[in-house]
């Protein structure tokens, strides 16, 4: 169904980080918001993405924000960098989705929802680390990978699931010995993302807890956030709710805290 060769082919097709993106991220890292905005403006697609993203209702700005320098100014260093990473992940998304009922708009909406909630969680946990802020951006790549690998296997997956409660991650692991999160890690490495990001993403799979206490804790919050978000009707209808298996025991000890923060009643 899926072979290692198909995974390698997918990885091979991932473009390297462009010079503009590399410079934008570096300047943001140095806190040079104006210089970063100037470089980012050279990439028209990036500018358009940022404008579209920041004007989504979830960001709650009263007036339309148009200039990249304005956007970076409003978002601040961490969230600006996060948005650029979201853009990079978005570059991998397909023109037409076949396996999941998604499109460019709904996918970027999902990215925005995850990013704003992650920001809220990190504020609650009093974590300011930039790389940890950015880590959420890699999570939706697992959805893109699933789409890319399973897009023409929808019927097969449905038949397999009629016999067994099996998720895409497990299917992939059993067939190729590599799961969605391993592939996400390869992407992160290719794009020279900080290793912490990959570690948190691996922990957020819920099946590979980290030995590092803080990374494991963040993995739990991210795993729970993912399922909180994917339990919304739009994403259930998109077929995202069960693309990986929810590890309820893994998040048990943080659930009460999460429910209070997200005001779940």
């Amino acid at each position: 169904m899926i072979t290692k060769a198909k995974i390698n082919e997918f990885i091979k097709k991932i473009p390297p980080k462009s010079e503009i993106l590399r410079s934008t991220i570096m300047l943001l890292n140095q806190g040079e918001l104006i210089k970063a905005a100037k470089v980012a403006t050279e990439d028209l697609a990036l500018s358009a993405y940022l404008r579209d993203l920041v004007n989504k209702p979830i960001y709650g700005f009263a007036n339309e924000v148009n200039e990249v320098s304005q956007i970076f100014g409003i978002l601040g260093v961490e969230r600006s960098q996060q948005s650029v990473y979201n853009y990079m992940i978005n570059l991998l998304s397909p023109k037409n989705w076949h396996f999941f009922k998604l499109n460019k708009t709904s996918f970027s909406h999902l990215q925005a929802e995850l990013s704003t909630s992650w920001h809220k969680i990190l504020n609650h946990l009093e974590i300011k680390d930039k790389e940890i802020q950015n880590s959420i951006t890699l999570l939706p790549s697992s959805i893109i990978i699933s789409e890319a690998l399973f897009c023409d296997k929808k019927d097969d997956v449905e038949l397999l699931r009629s016999a067994s409660d099996i998720d895409l991650n497990t299917i992939l692991k059993r067939l190729c010995g590599m799961d969605l999160f391993d592939i996400a890690q390869v992407i992160a490495t290719k794009w020279e993302m900080d290793p912490t990001i990959s570690k948190i993403i691996q922990a957020s799979s819920g099946i590979k807890p980290s030995e590092d206490e803080q990374i494991n804790k963040l993995g739990k919050w991210m795993h729970l956030l993912l399922f909180y978000t994917l339990s919304k009707p739009t994403y259930i209808e998109a077929g995202l709710n069960d693309f990986i298996e929810f590890q309820i025991d893994y998040v048990d000890d943080i659930y009460e805290d999460f429910a209070t923060l997200m005001e779940i009643q």
Partner: protein, 464 residues
């Protein structure tokens, strides 16, 4: 979301957060329709991967339970919950609890007449006296050994000694239990569960087409699980006598297990015995007795009544059947199939060593049977994806093989449906012994396609 049906139990596995908005998205009208059509004796919703739910979130499933009960009279309920979830459900549905609550799927299975397990020693406690009694009766009827405790203190004391019991039941509630004719396969016997009063209605509720196709596929042992039958009348007697006569033409055996003659005239038993029907007190009297099982046809397939010819209509659909089989095996093994030869003749397997076989029937607009002969290694490889590990446990391989063949059947059904041909499929039958398989297959003419997967030969045979 669709229920996964295994051993006659259909289970939904929602995950994450269940509220009014999400649950209606999880369970569409089509999903409910598919559940109503499913041939399951029990429909459950597992809460093992649900971290949060409210009443609105459960209501969508409870509405489905209502529909399933109303149409099929099967047992419905939630399972796999902890104390907190149990208390919440009890609070939400306090006075309207028609469905059941099973702490785990394993516990639910004890009430689903599943004889694939040995008789269990079950410690039972409920603070409701009538529940305690109901559970004890159901467990006993299903061949288990319930040990009922009357007080919480006694339960605490006894349950502390976990090793003394196979299963401990406390947070479980029995709602309305099943009454339909559920069907399941244990080994290669088909078990029908009948209950209550058997009268002329049995002719309507029993799926005779399904039964006949099961005979055609090669099932030779049919057991009526009749522990819960209160009595039968003359109309039911005539029905079973006719069923026995038609089974005799296939050299098949029909048995009744657990039927009490307290309220049924004992003369009925003699009449049924004269028709060839056999009676046993316990299911294990048959299923645990390998010699008897062989004798009754649980492993044999001799003497096929009708040798029907292949027709043009079926042969014209051959690519659909081959496509479904090849795609499924390729999907499960991650190996490419190469078609070697295709001929119309009687099946020719060649080397019979280290091979297993399976067959599945289809009926409806067209009817026939797909037979597959696997090298054991391919069967093992194909099953790895479902099992998650390599195994040499032959029973587990055959069970999983049945699921795999069921997937092939499902795929055939879909492909034919796309061509506007409506068919239903029988339960798959597996054969660990190729000689047993050949008893049913060797005198049939069909299309044989030899395929090769990683240099292992694989036989596909389409016949009627």
């Amino acid at each position: 979301m669709r229920a996964i049906i295994k051993d006659g139990v259909g289970v939904f596995h929602p995950q994450g957060f269940l509220d009014g908005a999400s649950s209606t998205s999880i369970l569409s009208i089509d999903d409910i329709e598919a559940t109503l059509k499913a041939n399951a004796g029990m429909i459950l919703v597992s809460l093992s991967k649900v971290i949060f739910f409210n009443r609105n979130g459960l209501d969508a499933f409870v509405k489905m339970f209502h529909k399933v009960r109303e149409k099929n009279h099967t047992t419905v309920g939630f399972c796999d919950y902890d104390q907190k979830k149990y208390d919440a459900i009890m609070k939400f549905y306090k006075d309207e609890l028609f469905f059941s609550l099973f702490e785990t799927q394993e516990i639910a299975t004890l009430f689903a007449s599943n004889y694939s397990n040995q008789t269990k020693n079950v410690l039972v406690y409920s603070d409701d006296k009538s529940q305690r009694a109901a559970m004890a009766i159901e467990l006993h009827d299903n061949g288990h050994n319930p040990i009922v405790v009357q007080t919480k203190e006694e339960f605490k004391a006894k349950s502390a000694n976990e090793d003394a019991y196979d299963v401990i039941i406390s947070n479980t509630y029995l709602g309305q239990m099943g009454q339909s004719i559920a069907t399941r396969v244990t080994g290669n016997a088909i078990i029908y569960t009948v209950s209550s009063f058997l009268d002329a209605d049995i002719g309507n509720t029993f799926n005779i087409e399904y039964h006949n196709n099961s005979l055609n596929v090669g099932f030779r042992l049919f057991i009526f699980d009749a522990y819960k039958v209160i009595s039968m009348n003359i109309h039911a007697l005539n029905f079973f006598s006719k069923l026995a006569s038609s089974a005799a033409e296939y050299n098949a055996t029909i048995c009744f297990v657990g039927l009490s003659f307290d309220k049924t005239p004992i003369s009925f038993k003699e009449t049924l015995e004269d028709s060839g029907i056999m009676f046993f007190e316990q299911m294990d009297d048959i299923l645990q007795n390998k010699e008897l099982l062989d004798e009754l046809g649980g492993t044999s397939t001799a003497n096929i009544k009708n040798k029907r010819a292949l027709n043009k209509e079926i042969v014209s659909k051959l690519p659909n059947f081959i496509g479904a089989t090849v795609q499924t095996i390729e999907m499960m093994t991650n190996a490419k199939a190469i078609k070697e030869t295709a001929n119309v003749h009687q099946i020719d397997i060649g080397d019979k060593e280290n091979k297993v076989a399976s067959s599945i029937g289809f009926y409806g607009d067209i009817d026939g049977m797909v037979m597959l002969v696997f090298p054991l290694e391919i069967a093992k490889k194909a099953c790895e994806l479902l099992i998650g590990e390599t195994t040499d446990d032959q029973e587990l391989i055959l069970d999983t093989l049945a699921e795999l063949v069921n997937i092939v059947g499902g795929k055939v059904k879909t492909l034919l449906g796309d061509a506007h041909i409506s068919v239903d499929i029988t339960l798959p039958r597996t054969y660990k012994d190729i000689n047993g398989f050949l008893e049913i297959a060797s005198n049939k003419k069909g299309v044989q396609v030899d395929l090769s997967f990683n240099n292992d030969s694989f036989v596909f045979f389409l016949t009627r």
